[in-house]
């Protein structure tokens, strides 16, 4: 388990956790049961091709955004801890997680760390100090949550015939059609006049 993978594991686990207490096998499973950490890591590493220049000369064809994401999550976690804005005690990380601060936060505190990175913390504050597009960090955080949720509830994160997320939503998967036609509220729209109200000012 790499640092990037293990930190992303703590992210996907916070978005779609395992919930054994619900006592329903379908609903109990979480993102880690379908290795969503791997899906999100791959997605981040394939978000964008590497431009010509130093990154390419290091042998990367695409931008290595997954380690960057992991690093940022730890930066956010560290800030949360230092500012004493944690609401739950630190935890010893799950065996699938990495060892950094983000992996040690309780689930909602992990989201609070993201909030600092996006809006309330020192990173977004740099935007005003430096003339650089620091907001990219917020964009990556939004991307991480969007990708995690979409992958968790579709075939993106689980390519089996019936992905776990579809099962949890009780979605039957692609269909050829449904006989649910109930007629028409309007049979045909009409080419109605317009402009009169505004001209005559009959609202007064």
């Amino acid at each position: 388990m790499s640092y990037a993978r293990g930190t992303i594991a703590a992210l996907v686990d916070a978005v779609v956790p395992e919930t054994p207490a619900v006592g329903d096998d379908v609903q109990a499973a979480g993102a880690l049961d379908i290795d969503l950490d791997e899906t999100v890591e791959t997605a981040f590493n394939e978000l964008q091709e590497a431009p010509e220049g130093p990154i390419r000369s290091l042998g990367y064809e695409t931008m290595p955004f997954a380690p960057l994401l992991a690093l940022l999550l730890d930066v956010g976690a560290l800030e949360l801890i230092l500012k004493r804005e944690r609401e739950a005690p630190l935890q010893s990380p799950d065996e699938r997680f990495a060892g950094g601060p983000f992996s040690r936060l309780a689930r909602e505190d992990r989201m609070r760390a993201i909030r600092l990175l996006e809006a309330d913390g020192v990173v977004p504050g740099l935007d005003e100090t430096y003339d650089a597009p620091i907001g990219i960090v917020a964009y990556l955080m939004q991307g991480a949550l969007f990708i995690t949720a979409m992958a968790a509830y579709s075939d993106w994160g689980d390519d089996s015939e019936r992905p776990q997320g579809w099962e949890q939503a009780d979605y039957p998967g692609p269909a050829d059609g449904y006989a649910v036609h109930m007629g028409y509220e309007v049979d045909e729209f009409e080419e109605n006049d317009y402009g009169a109200d505004a001209e005559e000012g009959d609202a007064e």
Binding site: S154, Q168, V186
Partner: protein, 593 residues
């Protein structure tokens, strides 16, 4: 004219992009006998010249409807969510056709999501077929437009008969929405020209469903024996239904299946996919500058070529059209790329208990995955609109619950608000929401956000790809846009509450850039015929040419209407004019009727 597979070397007009709007323009020009070459950055699906568009380059170009294949479309459009729609490696994404490669870069320095699609048909590959006209006051009473609403009406009418555009059928989820709207006190709107509040079925560019598919009927076929919409709700995944039908008979009238075949059928239009335009070529003209061609790069081979023509049309969408303009060093008086509108979306969902549903719609679940993805709406001219917008679970989880500018639901106090939760939902709560998917109705709010010079596209000179510096997008709402959005979210919540929802959630969405308008606005960058004010023989025919966000109505009907109109101006100015003006017999529809 060249044959299939060859490259048109000497077109009269070269067009950048073959997305939502460009095929309308190409069709209209082709009808006048003008030879048009469209350069499209992405793949061409369902075309025998490109049988495996995501793994092999295939041939060079397509110029005949004989190349279009329903069978290929069935193979390629699987209707699975991730396979079709993953923005990273789905078939419908902003990236090269080659599935082995990463998407193309954009710089977005803020919380937000962009959804645009590269490929013939462009972002209409994803779209939901919603084709309302602009709200009348957004054109006649907002200060942005140099033309009148009445100027667009004949083109609207033309498209409404060719796609065609018809009222969407009522389905259970639509009836639930209608009932909420009635109980909220709204009237039914039956006119095409909308000035007043009211609810209605969407005017949709989706063939109406077969009468055999009545809910109270006894249909038990395989949906290959019917024509028209099968109500499978796969618009977002490309909308290939009905399976087995001819290419041009697919129900969703996205540009790929509706306008592209019409353009090719003129015998004067050729489409070259996998061709990314990198520079508009110019020369000194009688005026200051005139366009004379385009340089483009083959996305598979990396080879660049130049093609020259009498006129150039940019139709690469609201982000890439200004990027290409700026990368070509064309003049900018301050409005190129600016004035971008996005409809400042929000999403509100309601979850219902089964007994309520039984009472209101006669079934125990909403079944959001059945029926057209977006078939019913509420218009609020001056503020925007609210529409049913339903998706398969992956998009529901991401759009409804995971993207927000308002933080996380667990930290937001909603006391006194009409919604129970607000912001991103994660953890156990997300799982609970998603386990209620089939009892949930999701609504989108389209805000009438107004053009502002601070919002839009610039070049990110620090990030370059093989096509030059990438586009940087900055967009933030004006406080008045926020107010309008808030008003719509409250109306949406009330409607859901009146319909009987027992749990209401508001996303407080972060900018989702999928309705994009007005970044190269007519009246600012373009004259009233769609030609650039600062460069002769250069036209823009995509949604960037719109002068504002058309009031919050879905933009494609207006984008395509304007593209038809721009084609006629182009033909008038640089060719022999138009032999068959639209409309042949104008239907009266104006203020003085």
């Amino acid at each position: 004219m060249t044959g299939s597979g060859a490259d048109m070397s000497d077109p009269d007009v070269v067009v950048v992009g073959a997305g939502g709007d460009a095929p309308a323009l190409a069709w209209r020009l082709g009808q006048q006998g003008i030879d048009v070459l469209l350069l499209e950055a992405g793949p061409f699906h369902g075309n025998e010249q490109f049988p495996a568009p995501h793994s092999e380059r295939g041939n060079t170009a397509s110029a005949s409807t004989d190349d279009l294949s329903g069978d290929l479309l069935d193979q390629q459009f699987t209707a699975r969510e991730g396979d079709m729609g993953s923005p990273v490696d789905g078939k419908l994404r902003w990236g090269p056709a080659d599935a082995e490669r990463a998407p193309w870069a954009r710089t977005v320095p803020q919380t937000g999501v962009i959804s645009q699609v590269a490929g013939v048909g462009g972002t209409t590959l994803h779209y939901y077929g919603n084709h309302p006209r602009a709200f009348v006051p957004s054109i006649n009473e907002q200060p942005h437009w140099p033309i009148d609403y009445a100027d667009l009406v004949p083109y609207y009418q033309h498209l409404e008969s060719v796609h065609p555009v018809k009222p969407a059928p009522t389905t259970p989820k639509a009836e639930l929405f209608f009932e909420g709207a009635r109980r909220s006190g709204y009237d039914l709107t039956t006119g095409l020209n909308v000035e007043d509040e009211g609810y209605r079925p969407f005017p949709n560019a989706i063939h109406q469903p077969d009468e055999a598919l009545r809910r109270d009927g006894d249909y038990d076929g395989d949906f290959r024996d019917v024509s028209g919409d099968t109500l499978a709700c796969h618009e977002h995944q490309g909308g290939p239904h009905p399976r087995g039908a001819d290419f041009e008979e697919r129900a969703k009238r996205g540009s790929l299946t509706s306008l592209v075949p019409k353009a090719l059928a003129t015998g004067h239009v050729e489409i070259r996919p996998n061709a990314f335009a990198t520079e508009v070529l110019t020369r000194a003209g009688p005026g200051p500058l005139e366009a004379c061609g385009v340089e483009y790069r083959d996305t598979w081979t990396g080879r660049t070529r130049r093609v020259f023509a009498d006129a150039v049309v940019l139709a690469a969408g609201c982000i890439e059209t200004p990027r290409l303009w700026l990368n070509s060093g064309l003049p900018d008086d301050g409005w190129v790329g600016k004035g971008l509108t996005t409809h400042h979306f929000d999403f509100v969902s309601g979850t219902f208990d089964s007994d309520t549903l039984e009472d209101v719609i006669g079934q125990r679940k909403v079944e959001p995955h059945q029926g057209q993805a977006a078939g019913s709406r509420l218009d609020v001219p001056g503020k925007g609109g609210i529409a049913v917008n339903t998706f398969a679970p992956g998009i529901t989880a991401s759009v409804m619950f995971s993207e927000s500018i308002d933080g996380f639901a667990f930290e937001n106090d909603t006391t006194g608000e009409p919604w129970d939760t607000h912001g991103r939902v994660t953890g156990t709560k997300l799982k609970e929401e998603m386990s209620d998917y089939r009892r949930m109705l999701t609504l989108i709010c389209h805000t009438d956000d107004r053009p502002r010079q601070d919002n839009g596209v610039t070049l990110d000179s620090a990030t370059e790809d093989e096509h030059g510096p990438v586009a940087r997008i900055d967009w933030s709402p004006h406080p008045e846009d926020d107010e309008r959005r808030d008003d719509l979210a409250r109306r949406a919540s009330k409607l859901l509450d009146e319909a009987g929802a027992n749990h209401i959630h508001r996303a407080g969405a972060a900018p989702i850039l999928l309705h994009l308008q007005s970044s190269m606005a007519m009246g600012k960058v373009l004259d009233s015929g769609g030609e650039a004010l600062s460069v002769d023989r250069l036209f823009v025919a995509d949604h960037s040419a719109l002068a504002n966000g058309v009031g919050g109505a879905n933009p494609t009907h207006t984008g395509q209407a304007l593209a038809l109109r721009t084609a006629e101006h182009l033909a008038d100015r640089y060719f022999d004019g138009v032999s068959d003006p639209i409309p042949a017999n104008p239907t009266p529809a104006s203020a003085d009727d």
